[in-house]
Amino acid sequence: MINRLLSNDLPRSRLLAIILIGLFLALLFAPFLFPGVKALSIAAKVLIFLVLVASFDLLLGYTGIVSFAHTMFFGIGAYGIAIACSRLGPTWQAVAIGTVCALALSMLLALVISLFSLRVRAIFFAMITLAVATAFQTLASQLSSITGGEDGLNFKIPDVFSGGYLLMDEPFLGVMLSGRLICYYLLFFTALTLLLLMLRIVNSPFGRVLQAIRENEFRAEAIGYRVVIYRTVSSVLSAAFATLAGVMLAFWLRYNGPDTSLSFEIMLDVLLIVVIGGMGTIYGAAIGSALFVVAQGYLQYLLQIASGAASGLPWLAALLSPDRWLLWLGVLFVLSVYYFPTGIVGRLRTR
């Protein structure tokens, strides 16, 4: 049963299995284990990043092509819900329409980009996605009549998910069963389903072909697989999953703006998580997201302390200022690509 659920792709390492089970239980009981609004937000962010990063891994880790437009699809999903819910009101129809339209737009865009770039060389893909994503980000902040511009959109979602809605009047295990909790569990089961679905995809015959292309493109083509078509389908699938992650984000935040879903910093976060967690292992996305989202808050805090301690040396204090945390993220990223290319999961599996 477990074997079938995980598509025969077991963790293959005792420690990895323990970590994964621990993570699963922690996220499942997060509202009861870590009470408080902030802790629940962090848990929800882990769930959202988990889907986003796993969908990126489908592209980077399994197909071996780099995309810089992943946050664009993430943003399309978030904007789909945001625009639909703020125009049509907080109804289920609005949510459905927003999701379907966002998915359609993302998949179409991914298809067009892939067909243009991948039919020549895979390296075009990285450059063209970067260009398209930049243009899209500019467009989203300029079309303020639709997207709310730099301010973004605040909107309401169906009433069941609002903090005012209570399932029971009495607290259950010390926690009020509010709409936020229902929303959290909706995200949890969506993330779990999507993760298992991606695991299914990468372990299907289709996924094996993707890995063959990653290892040796020329040989895969010689055996008779149309490399362009497989890569294109992979990029379209990956865009669809990223869009759903965006939908989850908008659902949780009930707000969306360019900085929350489209910014290049999120793209960098995703790249870093994939590398740290382990490229080409969907499980790496789960572990990496949890580790990163929790650590992210602390990195800025640590930098603040270090910067204060180094106040005698102005140049060192400037380097360690919390505003420069992207610098340290970049250094961490380069170092992990050099010295830690298989990531946490790869390390655990080869032990």
Partner: protein, 331 residues
Amino acid sequence: MNESNKRIDLDWAPLTLVPLLAIAMLPAIGSGSTWLTLTVAGLAMGMIIFIIASGLTLVFGLMDVLNFGHGVFIALGAFVATSVLGAMGDWTGSQQLWRNLLAVFPAMVIAMLVAGAVGIVFERFFVRPVYGQHLKQILITMGGMIIGEELIKVIWGPQQIPLPMPEGMRGAILFGDAAIEKFRLLAVVIGLAGFAALTWTLTRTKIGLLVRAGVQDREMVESLGYRVKRLFVGVFVVGSALAGLGGVMWGMYQQSVIPQMGAQVNVLIFIVIIIGGLGSTGGALIGALLVGLMANYTGFLAPKVALFSNIALMAAILLWRPQGLYPIGNR
């Protein structure tokens, strides 16, 4: 090898694109004098972009290295120029053109030297360890780009810094009704000089011959006993220095510099080298001119879609020639 590679005659079709685009836009813009102003501005911008893109495309052609961190050198050059010009206030403030030029010239030279020196470091730590691995190359050079941009913020601060043009270069020359800014003419002149120097080096010198041969077939050149890797470091450093020069000109063109300018220009030069064909300098020139013209025309006609118009241009050209205007060698 197919037929066209044996003949040496010029592939003229891409050359007609630049005048075609300019003429096609004339009716859309309406007024002839506005068109002339925009066209000169577009050509000036195109020449600046070409100076930046030429290094990137050569590095790719020679060593199959795609440097996503190229933008760092653009921003670096521009920021060095602000410091140098800031220190030479009484020269830039002078009304006499020759004194202005004497101030701008060292700013450009120092910017090129600094960018070239940083290029050596960048090549050693971000490019050399990942030769031949495209995936890691993209990731590492992108990481280098972010680190570089943040270091610029540490040194010069994250805010926008004005880069005022020297007094003598401000203002415009009137051709009938069309106003043409003096700096744009200067940019065209420097761009043409850069192109001429590059073409001369590539076609008339031994080193240029080796670079071109290396772009065509690296292993063959290596087997003849030349150290292509050392040659490559040289090309990388020159490419970085050219990006620094382009950065100075871009900063003066925009009259201000921000640390993110590298990433912004990076997008444009990627479009340019894809249009031109990866590795081709002639293609990069045509691509740069097309992108410069397109950006200025659409900036005037429909500013919101300016960046998308360049992507549409690239898409159209890839439909016509999937490898870019001048595909290189056997890759």
